[in-house]
């Protein structure tokens, strides 16, 4: 076992754990968005940033940083709270997140994080990009206006379903999640229609067609349930 401290609490961790795993095992909450159990950590959203005191206060993503003997981790501080709020503000400013009529209103990880972290204003100018909804799939739709580019759908599709339908296209704020080589989702030749991407998506960006406002409830834990039940080689 490895010994470290998180918020001045002594914590025991297995050698292959990340700081996030160790914190959760010790009952210490660190906010996450792009992280999903059963999917490879990518450290994309930076909401799980923690400070390492004995690395000169360096900021690292808890989801992607392995534990080390003697680490002195700060998971909750004014500085971290301010950084996390800023990250959320940037996410909200980047696309058109309008909770009032969103299918995921009330069941949205982004919305819950904004509440939890006290993000009551967006101080950056909104970009208001014009992004088209793709509802061409028989069962599902994708609304890039609500996408935070966490990539959970991309990883669920490749790592769990093995279909490799979803991928990132473009760069920076112009990045979009696209099916295959950019054709409408309904015309994808690789999509199996399994819906794992929809369940993995933290917002209303991926949704089941026919769901009305606030009606889309996701089961992101489904991904871990599926992988854990798989026979191991």
């Amino acid at each position: 076992m490895i010994s470290l401290r998180i918020d001045d609490t002594p914590v025991q961790a297995k050698p292959n754990w990340t700081i996030l795993t160790a914190a959760r095992a010790a009952g210490i909450r660190i906010p996450t968005l792009c992280h999903l159990d059963a999917l490879r950590p990518v450290g994309a959203c930076r909401l799980c940033l923690v400070e390492i005191r004995n690395w000169n206060g360096r900021l690292v993503p808890a989801c992607a940083t392995p534990v080390q003997e003697g680490l002195d981790v700060v998971a909750d501080s004014d500085r971290l709270a301010s950084l996390r709020r800023t990250i959320l503000e940037l996410l909200f400013a980047e696309r058109n997140h309008i909770c009032a009529f969103c299918v995921s209103n009330g069941h949205c990880e982004l919305q819950d994080l904004a509440t939890e972290l006290g993000m009551d204003h967006v101080t950056f100018p909104y970009r208001f990009p014009a992004l088209a909804v793709d509802a061409s799939h028989a069962k599902f739709g994708i609304d890039p206006n609500r996408c935070v580019l966490c990539g959970r759908c991309v990883r669920a599709c490749s790592e769990v379903e093995g279909a490799f339908t979803w991928g990132f296209a473009g760069r920076g704020v112009h990045t979009l999640i696209e099916a295959d080589l950019g054709e409408p989702w309904g015309q994808s030749t690789t999509c199996t229609g399994c819906g794992k991407c929809v369940q993995a998506c933290p917002t209303g960006a991926l949704f089941e067609k026919g769901k009305a406002t606030a009606e889309q409830v996701k089961r992101p834990a489904l991904l871990a349930e599926v992988t854990e039940r798989r026979p191991r080689a």
Partner: protein
């Protein structure tokens, strides 16, 4: 020509009235301007059909249910399904709750201070709080009656305002037995309040003879849905037009084919469009909608207490149409009684608890029209979608829009009657507002983009010469 500008308060949204005086100091022209646009028809494009009830409900916090239900009905048309019968009844029940809530707000909270305390009374006390001081029971009754309407809505949609409950194909959740019992237990009190208010109005009516004569008292057409049997209808049915003699001008019109008989004119001085009856052209095709129109159009209401009240209502006009817009207030009170009688019927119906409330289907039609009677009048939602159910075009015709021509004529009539000299007296100001308020207009919902509108401001001198002119190009 000189202009007097009057800001309008205690209506939903913002408005502006301009009165243009001629050389002799007489009113030359009076206009009711709606000074803001909202753009719903534009920004709904690109959204999915299933989100539309949630989006359009946000048009207004007073009658979100109207847009919710109308949008769901347009969705039914695009799915090409008929919602299961219990869903139909539940939607009707919620709409009736909306009638009670919205009409109670209009009468007790917004209008009764004028009616009970008088148009010339101290403006500081002429509001619902002043009313609570002098007529505490009336004010309390109003609050309780409105709360009952809201409870019907929240029992079904979990929220009093903006419930996301109706969806294309039906509704999302059935009515719980406990909620049904709670509503049934509170119904007698609501009915008592509604009948007291109706009696109060009928007793005091003769005090308001001047206002009845001048608040939009003119012959016109009236439009509403009526049931298959000609009875009062609030949720579906066919469109009927009657004239001031209460003669049927057009009947059995398919509401989904409204563009064949309703035109929409646009004026540069208001964001609110001007619908008109096409046969008579613009602006002669003026018609009124809402409570007054529904009572003028229907053969009967279909429930005993409301039909008795309708008989008294019609007796004041010798069986012809009641043509004073002042009596929108009266019609609203009769409709509260009618709504509560129907609520009783639905609460007594065992099928109202059925869990069979939603038909599932995909996109089967590319165009759908939803029409029903909102508290303020006939509401149209017209959607064009692509094969995936994404909106390509939206047209909304809302109740306040239908009444736009009538509200303008009402403002002119009041200005002619009450304007003295070149000063806007407190009494005139209030009567202008009161005249508008009789329609219970909802400007927040009724304005939407009519394309890009240039703004033109012209200042005219006493001889009509242009002193200054500013144009902001589209």
């Amino acid at each position: 020509m000189r202009e007097i500008k009057v800001p309008v308060t205690r209506i939903e949204g913002h408005g502006l009235i301009t009165i243009a005086l001629g050389r002799g100091g007489k009113v030359n022209q009076a206009r009711f301007h709606v000074t803001e646009g909202r753009g719903f028809e534009r920004f709904c494009r690109g959204r999915t059909l299933w989100e539309m009830p949630g989006i359009t409900a946000r048009i207004c916090g007073i009658c979100p249910v109207s847009h919710l239900l109308c949008s769901a009905k347009a969705g039914d048309a695009i799915l090409a399904v008929r919602p299961p019968r219990p869903a139909d009844k539940l939607r009707r029940l919620m709409n009736l709750g909306q009638y009670v809530e919205s009409h109670a707000l209009s009468f007790f909270h917004l209008s009764s201070p004028d009616l009970i305390l008088g148009w010339d009374s101290d403006p500081k006390a002429r509001n619902v709080l002043g009313l609570a001081t002098t007529h505490p029971q009336l004010a309390l009754d109003g609050i309780r009656l409105r709360a009952y309407g809201q409870e019907i809505i929240s029992s079904l949609g979990e929220k009093r305002v903006h419930p996301a409950w109706a969806a294309p194909g039906g509704v999302r959740a059935p009515l719980a037995a406990a909620a049904r019992d709670r509503l049934a237990a509170k119904l007698p009190e609501a009915m008592r309040i509604a009948q007291d208010a109706l009696s109060l109005y009928e007793d005091k009516m003769e005090n308001w003879a001047d206002e009845v004569a001048t608040f939009g008292n003119f012959p016109s057409l009236f439009m509403s849905l009526v049931g298959e049997d000609g009875a009062w209808e609030h949720y579906e049915g066919r469109i009927r037009f009657v004239d001031a003699e209460r003669r049927i001008v057009a009947d059995g019109l398919d509401p989904a084919r409204y563009p064949e008989y309703i035109g929409e004119a646009v004026e540069g001085w208001s964001y609110l469009k001007f619908p008109y009856f096409q046969r008579d052209g613009y602006p002669d095709g003026l018609y009124r909608v809402g409570p007054l129109a529904r009572l003028n159009c229907c053969d009967r209401i279909g429930t005993p207490l409301a039909d008795e009240a309708l008989t008294r209502f019609r007796a004041t006009a010798d069986g012809k149409a009641v043509t004073s817009s002042f009596h929108y207030h009266w019609a609203r009170l009769i409709e509260i009684v009618a709504a509560l009688e129907r609520v009783q019927g639905y609460l007594d119906d065992p099928e109202i608890l059925s869990p069979r409330v939603r038909a599932e289907a995909g996109v089967n039609e590319l165009v759908g029209v939803g029409v029903h009677e909102a508290p303020r009048g006939t509401l149209f939602h017209h959607y064009w979608v692509n094969e995936d159910g994404v909106l390509e075009r939206v047209n909304l015709i809302v109740s306040t829009g239908h009444n736009n021509l009538a509200m303008n004529r009402t403002v002119a009539q009041i200005a002619h009657h009450y304007l003295e000299g070149t000063m806007v007296s407190e009494g005139l100001l209030n009567r202008l507002e009161g005249g508008i308020r009789a329609y219970d207009p909802c400007l927040s919902c009724s304005v939407h983009a009519v394309g890009r509108m240039p703004l033109r401001v012209v200042l005219l001198g006493p001889d009509g010469e242009v002193l200054d002119e500013k144009v902001r190009d589209a």
